[in-house]
Amino acid sequence: MQERGGLRLQELVKRFGDLEAVAGVDLELPPGRLISFLGPSGCGKTTLLRMIAGLEQPTAGRVFLDGEDVTDRPPHSRDIGMVFQTLALFPHLSVSGNIGYGMKIRGVAQAEIRRRVDELLKMVSLEGTADRRVSQLSGGQRQRVATARALALEPRLFLLDEPLSALDANLREQLQVELRLLQQKLGITTIMVTHDQREAMTMSDLVVVMQAGRVEQVGLPLEVYRRPATAFVARFIGSTNLLETTGAGDGRVRLRDRDLAVPGADRSDGGPVLVSVRPEDARLHVGLGAVPNAIPGTVVFVRDLGELFECYVDCELREHVVVAGSPRERVPVDQGDAVQVEFPPDACVVVRA
């Protein structure tokens, strides 16, 4: 199948009265991939998706689909399939009526609709439910019907607006995997809006992190996690220790009275440098022996969750430093112990404020 569904967003802006929901977004999204818009509620991700769908007219900027300007096209002539947050199934139609709706609108023959509906039901493992009413289905089944319905016309773009938010945690994880496998099998360009970083990491080829109507970072899921560009991204995706250091030049920063090696820290004028270190990358050392790239502190709180242990250390910084690790490699410390927290240079990432 030739790659279709390449999307380019150019300087997109959307204002609702005084509120600027999307404040200038420029993106080039590759075809055939699953791209997530990730961010907290109110960051403009849904508005951005709705502008791609044509359900919202941008205040400024253009939307290009496969090189063609579709900004002024209404949603019904954009060749898209969309799963809504409420799923928006038609309560007056059966399962097959829902899935076949788009084909019926296009004037596809009854027999052909029937055949395609069966094929789609098989694809989402819902064989035998064609004549059921939507109200007779479980949450997970409804989600699948919505997916099949959106894919019925083999659209160029598959848009998902928090598609799993109505489901409980276990089912949600299961459907994340299912949806991702389906998307990979079909090779359809997919854009998913989510506020759940695990969901984004599970499903995406590319993650677009958004905040306050702007794109904070675009990258591969692991890259966004490991090398966050901004303090916001570092905090929003996973948890992190943000160290407020000052630049000492030549890949070194100053934290309290210690010098730390931080690759990429090129500031030498003593100005502020923000460094992010993931809790699982920081290391704990008992006692006060000489440890490179470490600062001393006192253990405040320890918890062992079975899959993970966490230790909160007061290093006289603005926030407690969190060190996490596997319980099997747990360093034996207790509340009140004097420790040193090591920040290995390759785990330190300089981020923008």
């Binding site: 209404p74 949603p75 019904h76 928006a88 609108i105 319905r149």
Partner: protein
Amino acid sequence: MSDRKPTHGTYAVLAVPVTMLVVFFLVPFGIMVASSFYHRVEGGFYTPAFELNSWRRLFTEVFIERAVFSIGISLLAGAVCIAVAFPFTFFLTRMKRRPHVALLVVVMSALSLSEVIVGFTWSVLLGRAAGISNILVWLGVMDEARAYQPGFVAVLLGLCYIAFPYCVLTLYPSLSRLDREVTEAAQTMGASPWRTFWTVVVPISRPIIVAGFLLVFVFTLGSYLISAILGRPEHWTLSVFISDQASFNANVPFAAAMAIFLTVLSLAVVGVVTVVESRTRRLT
């Protein structure tokens, strides 16, 4: 909810409306049923009896014609009201808040007008002396002012005007709750706004459309002043006939028989429409 046993308090609260219903509806209705069998004393009153004279008169041609006309014009009023009120209410609920509320207030304020005022206002507006046709003459559209009342269209217009706000009120809650994403979903699947309206909004709203239609039907079937003011005798509804018999001809037994017939007829229409609606809904 159904597990909880009703307490004495529940019965006490229920007792008030039940008593009202019995005293002010069931008892008078019983009296009316009884009086429909009474004997009419020519040129005056009636005496208790059991005879079927009044009921027999229901099978005269004049009466049947009136009944058919009444049912017909009420069904028509229901259809016209739904045809206007449904799109109106749908677009009302899709408006921005400020014009939305303003328009709703305007529609609802029409409820404060009594049937008498509405009837006579339309009678003036549709009349020749000071009616709207004068404006058309002034604009040069027409050569000479003319009267549109009394007449069938005038009666229909009056009935629809009276029933319209009620119809909007019936449709409003369900249409304002209609999930916007449902219509958007139809559009992402290739349906134009027009097709979305016909293939999604209307079918989803079918129960409420039927409810609104029945409301207007029953409401206008009992209307009496509008057809008396805006219609010729051949446009009079059964209600006009009933009050005519009761007040002017002093034939209470016949009026009672007609009133009961009208009640039963409207219940029958409501029943049939409801059954047909739920049947067809199950089949689709």
